[in-house]
């Protein structure tokens, strides 16, 4: 294998595809019409490989790799959908649903939620783990937006969009492991933070954790598609 070669050829789901050096498996798969489920990944933001929904199998390796951050190499053989992967993805979704308080029926994002859609796509009818039912607060101090930590899946899209696109870096993650929680400024109420009120974090949030106060009663679709265009316009300047 020669890393200097710009074009790599590989196999994804028994389909021979070509890719440019440095591309991720997810990018190449999507270019070729192969869908891999994702949650924390979003076009226009850096990838962090946090949610593990995009895990894929690589021939010759027992280790599952997140397709959003794993780059391709010559001769790679990737399987994006197998019984084993389906099982792991369902497990991940069950863990997410059990971790906090996701009550779809009364959520502003009901019908527009990426977590809910993934659950439906993966045939998630039950959560076999005991629900943790954590006592988490709602921060409604912002004049326009609310954060409900009960519905947060810690994808960090808000953190990345605020730092990478808006350039404000108001959002960050406090704590470790199960105690992790997204915060504004140095854990100040959102309304008292240096937030620029642009609303990008609300638009990229995959669930109902961040929402617009004027949008209630499950009428809150989100439109994160603006990110690649923003990036494109900036690069053009």
């Amino acid at each position: 294998m020669n890393d200097a070669v710009e074009v790599k050829t590989l196999i994804i789901d028994e389909q021979e595809v070509s890719a440019r050096r440095g591309q991720t498996i997810l990018e190449v798969a999507r270019e070729n019409g192969i869908q891999i489920p994702t949650l924390c990944s979003l076009d226009g933001l850096s990838s962090v490989g946090a949610c593990r929904m995009c895990l894929v199998e690589i021939k010759g390796s027992n280790k599952l790799l997140p397709a959003c951050v794993a780059t391709v190499y010559e001769g790679m053989e990737v399987t994006t959908n197998s019984e084993r992967l389906q099982k792991y993805r369902r497990n991940i979704l069950e863990l997410l649903f059990a971790e906090r308080n996701h009550i779809c029926s009364v959520c502003v994002s009901n019908g527009h939620c990426e977590l809910q859609t993934l659950g439906q796509q993966h045939g998630l009818t039950h959560v076999r783990l005991p629900y943790r039912n954590p006592d988490l607060h709602v921060d409604a101090s912002h004049e326009r937006f609310t954060v409900d930590h009960n519905r947060c899946v810690l994808c960090t899209r808000c953190v990345r969009v605020c730092a990478e696109i808006e350039g404000a870096h108001i959002w960050d993650v406090k704590g470790r492991g199960i105690d992790s929680i997204v915060i504004t400024d140095l854990n100040q109420p959102w309304g008292e933070s240096a937030c620029t009120r642009c609303g990008k974090c609300v638009q990229v949030c995959p669930t109902g954790a961040l929402f617009d106060k004027s949008k209630v009663g499950a009428d809150h679709p989100k439109y994160p598609d603006f990110l690649p265009f923003l990036n494109m316009m900036r690069e053009a300047q």
């Binding site: 409604a140 609310t146 106060k213 209630v216 009428d219």
Partner: protein
């Protein structure tokens, strides 16, 4: 030897409840209680949630009357926001509420009560259900299903979903009405009129055969409460509360939602999770009162629509003052369905109904707010307190069933004394005791459940708790 008869669960009700009848040593009925056996906790888990989430959260209380909760809750939120919603939004909500009243009353009358009324209190319990009605009186069965569909379809057209529509929000509604939907509703009206006229005619034909039931089905003097307009016409969505006594004298009038808690107290009895509402001025239990269709027709002087107006005049002939027997709830329910259909037609005739201004926006401008509406079963009040950020710190809901609770218990006792003789109960007698509760159409769990899934277990207990007899229906 004293004995206890238990009816658990009571069937053809919305939710789960049971009845116990206490017999004394002579086998006579000493006391009877209607128990609501589950606790839901909505007031508690609302705490900490943003107030603007309340309508959709509170609508989940009930799958039959989510619209009433949506409206009372949205109105409480609007008090917190200090806004008056656009006129078109108010009219659209009124139509949604009427559509729900029509479908809920159709459910109560045709699905839950009509098996007793059309097939007979003593008829075979195995066939005493809506399918039995459809088999015996197909045209009436069809009318009932048609009326339910009429109401549900309007809710779906307006709110996108038949149950728990997210369309009603603090400040108004999320989307204006489209002309095509208005026309679709207008096209459904002729069939709805035909169905309710058929039902009214059929009810009036059989009502006389229930003379004994009318006499003992919660037939007593009580106070009544309902919303009413300034012109003394019936009202379901806005207006103010009026309370009358058993002779029709006005006890309280012009009570808006924020005055409700000064007027009404809630007592607790150890045998039920449902509270017992009473007028503070008269105390408990003397200040107990009835709400719902019977109360509304007793209080309203006019319906404001031509066909229902005639029916109201006929209804008022049933008694010299307020109509006292709860059996007449059934009749009142049918008149209200007719009113609902007429009123929906009137609302749709307004050219402004298609106006695009249907929502007001505002933040927290008051730290407390209350809202009220008439649910199909009676007056409903939502009362919230919020912090500066609009998070709920306290919530109190007073629902219709709590306000009818004392009357239901008195009614059960009255019917049990009449029908349970010498410590013996017949199937028909116990069905009548249940049927007293059904006249009120109470919403116990406020949730829909599958038809015919619950067995009825009748247990006869001796004074020391031994099971003397047990019948499973």
């Amino acid at each position: 030897m004293s004995q206890t008869i238990t009816i658990d669960p009571v069937t053809r009700l919305e939710g789960h409840g049971k009845i116990t009848i206490q017999l004394n040593g002579e086998g006579e009925v000493e006391d009877a209680h209607f128990h609501v056996t589950q606790v839901r906790g909505f007031e508690k888990f609302a705490e900490g949630r943003p107030f603007y989430e309340m309508p959709s959260l509170m609508a989940r209380i009930c799958g039959i009357c989510p619209v009433s909760h949506l409206i009372a809750s949205a109105r409480a939120c609007e008090a917190i926001m200090s806004v008056r919603i656009p006129r078109t939004a108010a009219q659209l909500r009124r139509m949604l509420n009427l559509a729900q009243m029509v479908q809920s009353h159709a459910l109560s009358f045709f699905y839950l009560a009509s098996p007793d009324l059309l097939l007979g209190m003593e008829s075979d319990p195995a066939a005493r259900h809506i399918f039995g009605v459809v088999a015996a009186k197909p045209e009436l069965g069809r009318a009932g299903i048609g009326l339910r569909r009429f109401g549900q379809h309007i809710i779906e057209l307006l709110g996108k979903k038949r149950i728990h529509p997210g369309w009603v929000v603090p400040g108004g509604v999320t989307e204006p009405l489209e002309a095509s939907k208005r026309d679709e509703i207008l096209a459904m009206l002729p069939e709805a009129y035909a169905n309710i006229q058929l039902a009214l005619a059929a009810y009036k034909q059989i009502a006389d055969t229930f003379r004994h039931e009318i006499e003992v089905f919660a037939n007593f003097q009580s106070n009544y409460m309902s919303l009413i307009n300034e012109d003394e016409s019936i009202e379901f969505t806005v207006g103010a509360l009026r309370v009358i006594d058993s002779s029709g004298n006005i006890l309280e009038d012009g009570i808006l939602a924020d005055g409700f808690s000064d007027l009404i107290g809630e007592a607790v009895e150890p045998y039920s999770y449902t509270k017992f509402a009473y007028l503070k001025s008269l105390g408990y239990p003397a200040g107990s009162y009835r709400v719902g269709p019977l109360a509304r027709l007793n209080i309203a002087k006019t319906m404001g629509t031509p066909l229902a107006e005639k029916e109201l005049a006929e209804f008022k002939q049933l008694a010299s003052g307020p109509v006292q027997s709860s059996f007449h709830y059934h009749h009142a329910r049918l008149i209200e369905i007719l009113y609902g259909i007429e009123k929906i037609e009137l609302i749709l005739a307004d050219p402004l109904i298609l106006d695009k201004h249907v929502r007001a926006f505002a933040g927290v401008n008051r730290l407390e707010g209350a809202g009220q509406a008439e649910a199909p079963r009676g007056t409903l009040n939502h009362h919230y307190k919020v912090d500066e950020n609009g998070l709920i710190t306290w919530a109190n809901l007073v629902i219709a069933t709590g306000q009818n609770n004392n009357a239901m218990n008195r009614g059960v006792l009255q019917a049990a004394r009449h029908y349970v003789k010498d410590g013996k109960f017949t199937e028909g007698a116990l069905n009548r005791v249940e049927a007293v509760i059904r006249t009120f159409d109470p919403c116990l769990s406020c949730s829909t459940h599958a038809f015919g899934q619950m067995p009825l277990v009748l247990t006869l207990l001796s004074h020391n708790g031994e099971v003397v007899d047990r019948v499973i229906r």
